[in-house]
Amino acid sequence: MRYREALNAALREEMQRDPNVMLMGEDIGVFNGAFKVTAGLLEAFGEKRVRDTPISENTIVGMGVGAAMTGLRPVVELMTINFSLLAMDQIVNHAASIRYMFGGQVKVPLVVRMPQGAGHQLGPTHSHSWEALYLHVPGLLVATPTTAADAKGLLKSAIRDDNPVIFIEHEYLYGQRGEVPDDEDHTVRFGVAAIRREGSDVTIVGISRMALTAARAAKTLSEEHDIEAEVIDPRTLRPLDLDTILASVRKTNRCVIVEEGWPHGGVGANLAALVQEQAFDDLDAPIQRVTGADVPMPYSKPLEQIAFPHEPQVIDAVLATFGDRR
């Protein structure tokens, strides 16, 4: 099953399970979604539950917040993560804060889904990776599924959770295939990292699509450099399964963090701080970060390709942790 079909199945099953789950978003109905994630759902569930909205990101998310406060479980789709900035007010000032600032009187069981990622030459307004922006915000849960099975399992968990969830999909991953359990109760708990490959020499943490890039790099490292990397996909960044990462680092004594987003204030910057705080004595080398370039995403194909990480950069970073073995 493809990643996008897995997401579709999660939405379909959760809508069947709970009549108060409903979808809102631009072109998610008649058009079947900009990336076809919601294909067929309008037909299956009707206009009451699958709502095409005007292009009003802040208001759609805000209505989702309001409806979540008063009994629904809305799932809002934004066409790309770039457009979520128009809804930043409703996401940060409202969804994330409301329960806290009102002393716990209400909950906000809202899911905001959107894809991110470079590689389609869409330039600076459509290609960024911003999990770090949402990771920053207490009150939100943040998921970055990489496999089809996780896409389905995490989305189902997100919909069932009583907290606002920022659910970050990836444009490149939509077409990727993977095994997906058929079970309608297949959920993936937030806060549990997946170890994609076991290894004893170095820990590579890959976020979102970069978990796949890291896994490819690990294969090459084993074949060509005799280095066995352990690849960890955190799957959710809030909550973060730091324990699994720390346990791995304590075993391998080396850590490389790979993400597609910008370096400053990124997921890797944060994670590197956590790891060195808590496993400093276990580290044999400085933690390496591999990130997207510190630029707005360029349109030009060759420029775009060097603006986000690929396998060679991950391999270089791993070798750097071994110093002279380069």
């Binding site: 309001g66 409202h94 909550p239």
Partner: protein, 360 residues
């Protein structure tokens, strides 16, 4: 109206005494708009407002004690001292909040109305905001969506003539605010926001149209705030004469006089009610003063709904050198945590508390 007036006067005094922190936005002068519109609601209807909403939550039935305690930032406040003046909320009385972001409450209101509609509940949402807020993008976006989806919501723009220090004609190209929703499919009505009966009648009509015809309506309530925008306002943008002119229409005086003239109220009763109201506010102040400050242990409460998925709070703070404790701290006693009360603000983790699990 009297309770709101006396309550807010006292709040102003308490602010001067530094019992209340942050911003304090008083609605003195706007009581007829608040009470006239709120009284038109049914119990199950939703009311949502702005940072100027002590009056709204009182009109909806919140106890003055708890509102004052919230202003004082105490645990017995409506929001346990988390929200303060700008962020009142009383779910039980369906006062769905004051919000500090100008224009931020409109989409939420449409969301409440969406849920009412979806769940086929006979509820209407009344959403109040200022003339200044009518320039935000959410105004147009929400009007359009509410009209498009025929949601049971009434928007009320409280035209108190100013957005902070910017006069209406200096901030809005269209000053006839009731017309501002028309292009989005939301017809307008206007009421005299200094007249409690007129406000009540017009709001009743608007609510009926929204409830029965599923047609959102924009009501412009023409009113005036006698005090500054907040307590920190030197009021250099308007003349004393203008304020005095509007004060002649003080809804408390006008309505009180009307009641006396109509023989509904005797002068002595009028004074007695005032005295009782002042005593009630005294009690609210005493209650607020006696209520404790929230414990530092409460800092991390209610950020998340704890449950299967989120079992504990494991915030990260770079100032703490001790190890991260992992997430599953449900079994731990709070006191055992490495950074309990004395280090609040530098806490790595907080235990899940079964008692916190959401009631519904």
């Amino acid at each position: 109206m009297l309770l709101i007036r006396r309550f807010e006067e006292r709040a102003g005094e308490m602010y001067a005494k530094a019992k209340i922190g942050g911003f304090l936005h008083l609605a003195i002068g706007e009581e007829a708009t608040i009470v006239g519109s709120t009284r038109a609601l049914r119990d199950q209807d939703y009311l949502i407002s702005t940072y100027r909403s002590h009056g709204h939550t009182l009109a909806r039935g919140s106890e003055p004690e708890r509102v004052m305690a919230e202003l004082f930032g105490r645990v017995d406040g409506l929001c346990n001292g988390r929200g303060g003046s700008m962020h009142m909320f009383d779910l039980q009385n369906r006062f769905m909040g004051g919000y500090g972001i100008v224009g931020g409450n409109l989409p939420l209101a449409a969301g409440f109305a969406l849920a009412s509609d979806y769940l086929e509940r006979d509820e209407v949402t009344l959403c109040q905001f200022g003339d200044g807020a009518s320039n935000q993008g959410t105004f147009g976006e929400t009007m359009n969506l509410a009209a498009l989806w025929r949601l049971p919501v009434v928007f009320m723009v409280t035209n108190n003539q100013f957005g902070m220090g910017t006069a209406l004609e200096r901030h809005s190209a269209v000053t006839d605010l009731m017309r501002k929703g028309e292009g989005f499919g939301v017809p307008g009505m206007r009421c005299d926001g200094m007249d409690v009966a007129d406000t009540y009648n017009v709001t009743c009509d608007a609510l009926r149209i929204a409830r029965e015809e599923r047609q959102p309506v924009l009501v412009e309530a023409v009113t005036y705030r006698f005090r500054g925008h907040s307590m920190a306002d030197p009021e250099e943008y308007r003349t004393k004469e203008q304020v005095d002119e509007w004060r002649k229409r003080d809804p408390l005086t006008v309505f009180g006089d009307q009641l006396v003239a109509a023989g509904v109220l005797g002068e002595d009763e009028r004074e007695a009610i005032d005295r009782e109201t002042i005593e009630r506010v005294d009690r609210a102040v005493a209650f607020a003063d006696a209520s404790p400050h929230p414990s530092p242990n409460d800092l991390y409460d209610d950020i998340y709904v704890l449950g299967e998925q989120v079992r504990g709070w494991y915030s990260v703070d770079e100032r703490t050198p001790t190890p991260h404790r992992g997430e599953d701290e449900s079994a731990m006693d709070r006191a055992e945590l490495p950074h309990a009360a004395e280090h609040a603000g530098a806490t790595t983790a907080k235990p899940a508390d079964a008692a916190q699990a959401d009631e519904d």
